[in-house]
């Protein structure tokens, strides 16, 4: 059943698929194997995020997010704000978050099960992939193409809440392209993510995480103990309190309200 739908949508969405395949081919030109031999757990990927709104005048905002994976550790790096968030998946499936303030070489460590957006962090796929499995399951597979690391799936869903499209690299568990529209006419808001770079160099990835580990860390519970530390006392204005990591979906994979979303931290 899925295959039939797949072929049907290849024709209908030829233009979008071509764009996606062009991007992926460029990223994986050396990968022609039927089986993908790249380890999705050792990976770094950069996305360009474009947010546009028709609400008043046409406005476009661009930013970047870098995804880093090293085994059971994942990091989301926001270069514009010098903040990196990281999560470690424990053997018992609990998730331990950490937040790194790159401009200050300081970090805050949390206990496993830390709350983000008012919910306990339980969905590893959301942090690992930037989009949760629960969301993907809600989408309709439009087509599938390629092989090995380049195997690509295109999903879509048009609901009263808006249009969601996802170009997905299942072998790498990686977003290739992701867009989301909400509203119509002047009320329309569009978010779009494009994969612009992927790396698999263990040394580069190790160096990134090693650098984070050099930051002076403070246990979350200790924030109140030392009011002589200017960094801790000013954490609020430094961006300690922030909105979603990706901002597009909450931990359940539901799209967030457009007017509540902020890329900056």
């Amino acid at each position: 059943m899925l295959n039939l739908l797949h072929r049907e949508f290849i024709v209908k969405n030829n233009y979008l698929l071509t764009l996606a395949l062009t991007t992926i081919s460029g990223l994986y030109s050396a990968q022609t194997f039927a089986q993908c031999e790249l380890n999705p757990d050792i990976l770094n990927a950069s996305y360009q995020l474009t947010s546009s709104s028709n609400q008043t005048a046409k406005t476009v905002h661009q930013s970047q997010i870098n995804l880093w994976r090293q085994g059971n550790t994942v990091a989301h790096q926001y270069p514009q704000t010098d903040i990196t968030e990281s999560w470690y998946l424990l053997a018992n499936q609990q998730i331990k978050p950490s937040r790194y303030f790159d401009g200050y070489q300081r970090a805050i460590e949390y206990q496993p099960g830390e709350v983000v957006h008012g919910k306990t962090e339980k969905d590893w796929s959301y942090r690992y992939q930037l989009v949760s499995n629960k969301l993907i399951e809600q989408l309709t597979l439009v087509n599938e193409s390629g092989q090995g690391c380049k195997r690509t799936q295109r999903f879509s869903k048009n609901s009263p809440n808006g249009l969601v499209t996802l170009t997905w690299l299942p072998e790498l568990k990686l977003i290739s392209q992701f867009s989301w529209q909400q509203g119509k006419g002047k009320q329309q808001v569009t978010e779009d993510w494009k994969l612009i770079e992927v790396g698999h160099n263990p040394a580069t990835i190790k160096a990134f995480f090693n650098n984070l580990s050099q930051y002076k860390t403070t246990d979350y519970a200790d924030i109140g103990d030392d009011h002589s530390d200017p960094f801790l006392t000013q954490m609020v204005t430094l961006g300690f309190v922030e909105h979603g990591a990706s901002g597009f979906y909450d931990v359940q994979g539901h799209a967030l309200e457009a007017n509540g979303h902020q890329h900056s931290h």
Binding site: Y88, Q111, E114, H117, T120, Y220, D225, S228
Partner: protein, 636 residues
């Protein structure tokens, strides 16, 4: 008013007494009529200035104007006849008081307190004589002085319980919560240490801070010397963060004296064992944050300062090097969290219940748990509940338990720990079981470190449930020791800006919204919204995390100080965080006094309002630590 004519009376008397035997003379000329004397009586009401209990005022004088009335100008004398005052009441009149349960309980408390005082102050020889014989004040003073002197050194064992951040309001609220969890109204309930015979207050300020931190306060309690905030085991001459200023400022702690005196020693904390409070029992550091070498500035390492974890593992050698003649065997029992400060920053050293990709923080490659085990062949190192349970207290001479990478769990969250953790009561019992194998006695410090963290996060639930767990640990200590030879002191290092407010009716859920006397509906403030009994003056403010038991979860949300509509919110859940007035990234300590509660030999020294450093001096007196330590040094 009554007027009496005394003229006629006088004439009558004269006629009865004017008799003689001579001849009668001629009648004289009648004189003119004399003036009439008058007397008036005036009844006086209750409360009169001259007769407070009522009476009569008697005015007398001559009616010079013969109008038959004694005018004020005619009064020549005034007397008062007052009713006597009421100096006693019958039992019947007092029936409503003497039969009242509070009255009876109060009387019994007085009798108990008197006996407690006599028991505590009387030496074995003089106890009965003092109780039974009336003595002059001077004799009594001499006797009491002698008795107090005889108390010195009577405490063979000492246990110091420190509830980090357990201010007076925390004790009160925890007492009520525990009572309500037991099905009582709550207010009448007592935590274990509420029933201790002696208590006093401690002024908590640091030498350089009106509102203190744990480092300065615990240093005062352990060393008898108040010092600056943020420094561990050193006096105020040190400059925080400057290693070069440490030399010469090191203080001697009660634990160190106990070690030198030959007692067994132990430290327990539900926080990291390198955290400020436990660290002040054994370490000397210019900064409380130097918990491992990666936390220290390079110049401090180069200058020779040691991190706190290093100082714990090398306590024995350090003390012997610092005090000539000291021959100690190291701290016998160490239990708490903070494994990260003892392990190298290398995944190969991760514990099975590590919660970070790399558990250890040490950048010098040292595994201090291994060093400790190499140093003490008879030592047992455990890191989880199973290991803890397997420790045989009778055969174990030395125990190190590091149960968490960082702080141990909140009591309410303990069941969520990966490998399991013992409760503070379980750790206390195990420690006493091991330490009391020494005939010379022991010193044990037990800290409930996460009461403080619960408050900082704005979670009364976590702060109070940890206080209750702490009270359970004290119960265990009381059960396992003999009050005749073990001094138990319970206190806090500082309070928090935590309030019990409004006018809730008796038995109102302490975590609930205020419901006034005679009402079933929550009271509303002037903004029309309900409010909770418990609240904070500052901090992150309102959070409603439902059944979440980890108070730190509240840090993941925007600060929400000020008022919120609580109408549809269950404020009694574990995840509810109380409202706060002043928005801050974390709720703060308070500068108020804290309670000191004591029982056992020397406990009577705990009374009145004291500098916090008095805690050390009470322990030193009760166990005569200094004398015993000096004797041991002299003998070596």
């Amino acid at each position: 008013m009554k007027n009496l004519n005394l003229t006629l009376v006088a004439i009558a008397i004269m006629s009865l007494t004017a008799c003689s035997d001579g001849d009668d003379g001629q009648n004289g000329t009648d004189g003119s009529n004399g003036a009439t004397s008058l007397i008036t009586q005036t009844a006086l009401p209750l409360g009169d200035a001259n007769c407070p209990n009522t009476g009569v005022r008697i005015d007398s004088g001559v009616d010079t104007d013969a109008d038959g009335t004694l005018q004020a100008s005619e009064i020549s004398a005034t007397e008062y006849v007052c009713a006597p005052g009421k100096t006693s009441v019958s039992s019947n009149e007092l029936l409503t008081s003497v039969n009242n349960e509070w009255f009876l309980a109060g009387q019994q408390q007085i009798a108990k307190a008197r006996q407690t005082w006599l028991n505590a102050t009387a030496s074995e020889a003089g106890a009965n004589s003092q109780a039974n014989n009336a003595k002059t004040a001077s004799t009594l003073q001499v006797s009491q002085a002698a008795n107090l002197a005889s108390l010195k050194g009577t405490a063979k064992n000492m246990i110091l319980f420190v509830g980090d951040g357990m201010g007076i309001s925390t004790v009160t609220a925890a007492r009520i919560l525990e009572g309500q969890l037991k099905g009582k109204m709550g207010e009448e309930h007592n935590l274990s240490f509420d029933t201790f015979a002696f208590s006093g207050l401690a002024k908590t300020y640091n030498v350089d801070a009106q509102t203190p931190d744990s480092a300065g306060t615990m240093t005062a309690m352990m060393s008898g010397v108040k010092t600056d905030a943020g420094v561990i085991g050193v006096n105020e001459q040190v400059e925080r963060g400057d290693c070069s200023t440490v030399a010469g400022t090191e203080l001697v702690t009660a634990l160190e004296l106990a070690e030198i005196a030959g007692k067994s020693t132990g430290i327990i904390s539900t926080a990291r064992i390198t955290h400020a409070t436990p660290a002040a029992t054994y370490a000397k550091s210019a900064d409380r944050n130097w918990e491992d070498i990666s936390d220290m500035p390079a110049e401090a390492v180069t200058a020779g300062c040691k991190d706190i974890a290093d100082q714990l593992v090398n306590f024995e050698a350090n003390l012997e090097a610092r005090i000539t003649g000291a021959d100690v065997d190291g701290i016998d029992v160490v239990m708490g969290g903070g494994r990260r400060h003892f392990l190298p920053k290398d995944t190969a050293f991760n514990s099975p219940d590590a919660v970070s990709s790399t558990e250890g923080d040490r950048t010098d490659g040292r595994d201090l748990t291994a060093e400790w085990q190499a140093k003490y062949a008879d030592g047992v190192y455990v890191y989880d509940q199973a290991g803890f349970d397997a420790v045989d207290a009778n055969s174990t001479k030395r125990l190190m338990g590091l149960f968490n990478e960082s702080h141990m769990q909140y009591e309410a969250d303990r069941h969520n720990d990966i490998a399991g953790e013992p409760s503070v009561a379980q750790m206390t019992a195990k420690a006493i079981d091991i330490l009391d194998n020494n005939d010379e006695g022991f010193f044990l410090m037990v800290e409930s470190g996460r009461i403080d963290h619960g408050h900082h996060a704005g979670s009364a639930y976590n702060a109070l449930t940890d206080t209750i767990a702490f009270s359970d640990a004290i119960t265990k200590a009381v059960e396992m020791t003999d009050m005749s030879d073990t001094l138990i002191i319970v206190t806090a290092d500082h309070g928090h800006v935590f309030t019990i407010a409004g006018y809730p009716k008796r038995g109102n859920p302490i975590l609930g919204k205020v419901v006034g006397v005679g009402s079933e509906e929550p009271a509303t403030a002037s903004d029309g919204m309900p409010y909770t009994t418990l609240g904070y003056t500052n901090g992150r403010g309102f959070k409603n995390l439902g059944t979440e038991t980890d108070a730190d979860e509240g840090y993941g949300h925007d600060i929400a100080a000020g008022r919120h509509d609580l109408s549809d919110i269950d404020t009694q859940t574990a995840g509810y965080h109380q409202e706060a007035l002043v928005p801050m990234s974390s709720e703060t300590h308070a500068g108020e006094d804290v309670g000191i509660y004591a029982q056992g030999p020397g406990a009577l020294l705990v009374n009145g309002t004291n500098e916090q450093s008095v805690v050390y001096h009470v322990m030193d007196f009760a166990a005569d630590l200094t004398t015993q330590a000096n004797a041991a040094l002299a003998a070596n």
